[in-house]
Symmetry: C2
């Protein structure tokens, strides 16, 4: 079917009919605004992301259903990083003239699949034609009890630096794709179909364990840099401590320079957070109960020490190799 | 200055520093999410809109500062249509490679100017490069006391149909621009720099006057159609009752077919609402006190009667001329 035959309102109606009722959603799709209620005493969390064809994704690398899932995951990942629960999603779509209804349906199916997975409801959006590439704009709203909000700015010298999952898989997959190679399924999935750490983020916040938290979208060092800047502290981390998947380790054994991808590759969508020493035992227990591995990378230091990455022999890796200057500190 | 020299984070930092603290904004720009609080007992209203170069605007027709203001106005207009107060704004920008920092600064200046005007605060967003046109994605959040929420679905047979301001000015300006002519300043302003009726919308809701309300973005008949569909009713309106500005009347005197622009032109951003007969006196008083003229267009009828537009002699205008089938009812 051609999109012109279905029409904008036909397309929206079809989506609206497929969405189940949800607690707190007074009005979803179909009025001027969505009308929503949050649990009393909870803060509203809101984040928005643009995903643009040729900039953030390529049709020939990902199917649209997977892209639909990813466009939800990268947004709710930001809510996880504040310790919140995802609740509402808004989808803006600028659709190229040639795109088929079937392709759009695949995208929406993936989007709704991920929404269900994370417990959020699609409650509004906007659609129009695009004279250029496919453009996706997602806004996610969540809620967090006021005292459980985790910011970037609470890291203190002496805190341990932790990260969930493994690093560099997504960056390695992208590098292989750019080189015209086919990443193995595990790596491809980590890049195209990331899992936001909403369960872990919420559990950490509820237990009041992290002093600061961020999700890794720009790369470990860039995002750690955001915590350091917001908290006015430094950090020393050990390259040998980086959690690496088996596929990543195999590639690293062939080419040691790939370590940069774990340090600065980006799009890991893991949680990076700081923990006071007296809470590290609680964290170990919580990580066991949630089933998400967490790894200590190093320590927060004073503000003058900056961000230092030590190699296996305890020598600082030069900043250029760490990608640290990539986000504009110290240059 | 080139955008590459300033950088994404530099650009965001400059914006963040220019935004004053605001009540209810716990965290604005600079963390993974904005963290916000709403007045207790109020519903959260959220709406999102895409504005795309060549689709929604053209650089040669509007300066970027005005475009910044319009991108706020069209969003808060949706909040006004629910009876709410605008509170938070999120700005997604996909910026073409060639765009200068000065142009972006102009856009942001207009955006922030309008935000202040409507009492809302810019608290988050996303920026990236665009391989195609300039793309603007705005999400607006507002709040409304639960009992004052005005939906599209409450219109009842016998209610009067009212509209604020004048109709067709924006459509006429667009038609002149498309014909290569220069609209006079009043008409141009109505198209490029519309004023959202936030004060009127809020006052109407607070006084519990409208049974249904919508803002006119798609055109009077299309948006009245949305109310009729949501409320499961019909309506009869009189073309002679349409509120028209002096510049519009002058053009209409030359070419009577321009009446279509008042019926279906779109982008008026006026409020269209229905009022029970016993509240029409209250409305007249409220319109006087807010200084926004409101005009009665006709009456809500039973569902089987559909939408009828009567000409000056009381004869129905054929649907094709009204633009009624434009939004897919009855075809």
């Amino acid at each position: 079917m051609k999109l012109a035959d279905l029409g904008e309102f036909g397309f929206i109606d079809r989506i609206a009919r497929s969405i189940p009722a949800a607690a707190g959603v007074r009005l979803g799709i179909g009025d001027d605004c969505a009308a929503l209620s949050l649990p009393p005493g909870e803060l509203l969390l809101t984040t928005t992301d643009l995903l643009i064809e040729q900039v953030h994704f390529r049709h020939d690398w990902t199917d649209l259903r997977t892209l639909g899932r990813k466009s939800v995951a990268v947004n709710v990942s930001d809510i996880a990083a504040m310790g919140g629960t995802p609740r509402h999603l808004f989808l803006g779509l600028a659709v190229p003239v040639g795109m088929s209804v079937e392709n759009l349906d695949d995208f929406v199916a993936g989007f709704l699949e991920a929404a269900r997975h994370y417990g959020a409801t699609l409650v509004g959006g906007d659609t129009c034609r695009s004279p250029g590439p496919l453009l996706i704009s997602v806004t996610a709203e969540g809620a967090v009890p006021e005292r459980e909000l985790v910011r970037r700015s609470g890291a203190r010298p002496g805190d341990a630096v932790y990260v969930s999952g493994t690093l560099g898989d997504s960056g390695l997959a992208l590098q292989l794709l750019l080189a015209g190679q086919t990443p193995e399924p595990f790596l491809a999935r980590r890049h195209h179909d990331p899992e936001a750490r909403t369960g872990l983020g919420r559990a950490l916040a509820q237990a009041a364990i992290p002093t600061a938290m961020i999700d890794i979208s720009d790369g470990l060092l860039a995002d750690l840099g955001h915590i350091l800047e917001a908290s006015q502290v430094g950090a020393t981390i050990e390259a040998a401590a980086l959690p690496l998947s088996e596929p990543f380790r195999r590639a690293l054994a062939q080419e040691s320079a790939l370590l940069d991808l774990a340090l600065a590759g980006g799009e890991d969508y893991e949680l990076l957070f700081t923990v006071p020493p007296e809470r590290e035992a609680d964290l170990a227990e919580l990580a066991r109960s949630t089933g998400v591995p967490t790894t200590r990378l190093g320590r927060i230091t004073g503000p003058k020490e900056g961000l230092i990455v030590l190699d296996r022999d305890g020598r600082p890796i030069p900043p250029r190799k760490t990608g640290y200057d990539h986000f504009g500190r110290g240059d």
